[in-house]
Symmetry: C2
Subunit: 327 residues, 2 copies
């Protein structure tokens, strides 16, 4: 069993690779576990700290079809397509977003089609496909209304995944990811970057500037749980999903104010006091268009894991940051 | 005011060109009527019978960016993007469908972006973006679930139109077209071709084979009304539409059996007897995934025209076929 992870050097890609290496097995097409022989990571930079003979790294542009042809071969049974340009960057550079978020996905699906092996493809979409005037809780059946180029590109790629699956070119699954928190490392250009920054920086003894108000509602999932969702989505029998391969992942709905209160409970008032609220209209506007809560009925019914308690997520982050989980 | 019509040699493209020539004016950006100086038709074959000095014809592949660069220029204020590969053909030739239904739309939007004139772009999408298990009446807010590559490609292009509009590259409007009946001419590769064939062929003294059952429900609009909808969609103030440029056009919901009864009332039982029912599972399956009725609430509220009476549509077709309206 050979697995490809695009965006393999990103936080989620590396964490997925480590989890798969530990796990050692993954479902094959017949639904039985098979040993993982090789994991190919594709990214613009190599992933450090993955010393395992099963790891192969290919460095370059995920929107370069030749690169994907080197990464994906006739032995590739599973692909986790995580490579993306984040929301803020796709908004700032329209062409780059189209190339990485849309064209790379299309090239990847075309390479799979070429080999005819019908690999399982787990694609990471985003709740940013929703936007504008939304009901308090977004049902699975609601039309997408992206208000960012990032959300538009993700929604287009979801449509491709469904059609390539229907035509038998791949066996796809699109997961609409909530905001992931707490991410380790440094802030990035995602408009949702603050959702990790307001926890991570204060715990590191640094000030964190929160660009959105305390009442802002976030649909959130922890790194550990989203990786479990990736594997659950991979392993599920395609027949259970039918023609529609879309899943709104079951996050938890929490306000920024509640996140700050969690941090205060877990790490004390001095740590929580390191958050400074400085509204940034550009980011506030983007975040305001995203849904604060989704029903995620289908994913829940299929038994996808979720998080219940943000205090618990912070505690786990503190332990993982100390033991040096992928940064 | 210079107008571009892609798919300009098709039935709707020609009919639109003729209607615009007769009309002589169209709204410009400030909402006031301006005289039409030139209409550029783009299609794989030239349109016959449009002898008017305002008509310019460019022949070639609508997915060829150079061709679109010749057709669209800095003077282009309005584009009607009708060029498409129909449902049956896009299902039979996946790559052709992707190229014409998706890539041509993207090239067209890119050329508009290049000129920076922000033209009004009326894009013809389709109710084929819906499919699968649908409510009896599809609300505007329902998520798209295309079950054909054609529907997928149209849904992707709609997303592009919305995002290019949001970014100020164009001033777009996407219309989800019902099945159009009665189309003149000959059967084509559209799965919905029967909806015209069962009226047109019997009126011509020919037998028509209907590949779907009499109980099949069709969401339908007449050629005259859909052209009125194109012009209404063009002329509406973009501010009235806001960020979401999608409109489900208000068709009429009618069964194939009711269409046959209409034909019998208008043309007599001998004519209606020329319809032979021979189910074709491939076509039945495609048509069964399309919605039989849509609420089309938004388009109705915006005052878009509709049809009420299929007898009337047949009578009008008979008159137009006799006087040689565009075939």
């Amino acid at each position: 069993m050979n697995i490809v992870i695009t965006g393999g050097s990103g936080f989620l890609g590396r964490r997925l690779a480590e989890t798969l290496l530990e796990r050692g097995v993954l479902h094959r097409a017949d639904g039985r576990d098979a040993p993982i022989n090789r994991i190919t990571l594709v990214d613009v930079v190599p992933a450090p700290g993955l010393a395992d003979t099963r790891i192969r790294q290919i460095t370059g542009d995920a929107a370069d079809r030749q690169l994907l042809e080197r990464a994906i071969d006739a032995e590739t049974t599973s692909i986790f397509h995580l490579a993306a340009v984040v929301s803020g960057q796709a908004e700032a550079d329209f062409d780059l977003g189209m190339r990485v978020n849309l064209d790379a996905s299309r090239h990847l699906l075309e390479v799979c089609r070429h080999y005819g092996q019908r690999p399982r493809v787990v694609f990471t979409s985003s709740v940013a496909v929703y936007g504008g005037d939304l009901p308090a809780t977004v049902p699975d059946s609601l039309a997408v209304t992206p208000q960012t180029s990032y959300g538009t590109q993700k929604a287009m790629a979801e449509l491709l995944i469904n059609d390539y699956t229907r035509r038998g070119f791949v066996d796809g699954r699109s997961l609409r990811l909530p905001t992931i928190s707490v991410r380790p490392g440094r802030p990035n250009a995602a408009a949702s970057s603050f959702a990790s920054g307001i926890i991570r920086e204060p715990l590191n003894g640094e000030t964190s500037v929160c660009p959105v108000g305390a009442a802002t509602r976030v649909w959130l999932l922890s790194p550990r749980t989203v990786i479990e969702c990736f594997i659950a989505a991979h392993d599920i029998d395609g027949a259970k999903l039918g023609a529609n391969r879309l899943l709104n992942l079951p996050g938890m709905s929490i306000t920024v104010g509640e996140m700050v209160a969690s941090l205060e409970r877990v790490a004390g008032p001095d740590v929580a006091a390191r958050i400074r609220f400085e509204p940034d209209p550009r980011i506030e506007q983007m975040v305001a268009t995203w849904p604060g809560e989704l029903a995620a009925t289908r994913a829940r019914e299929l038994g996808f894991p979720s998080d219940k308690n943000f205090d618990e997520i912070i505690r786990r982050y503190i332990v993982e940051a100390r033991i040096g989980a992928p940064q």
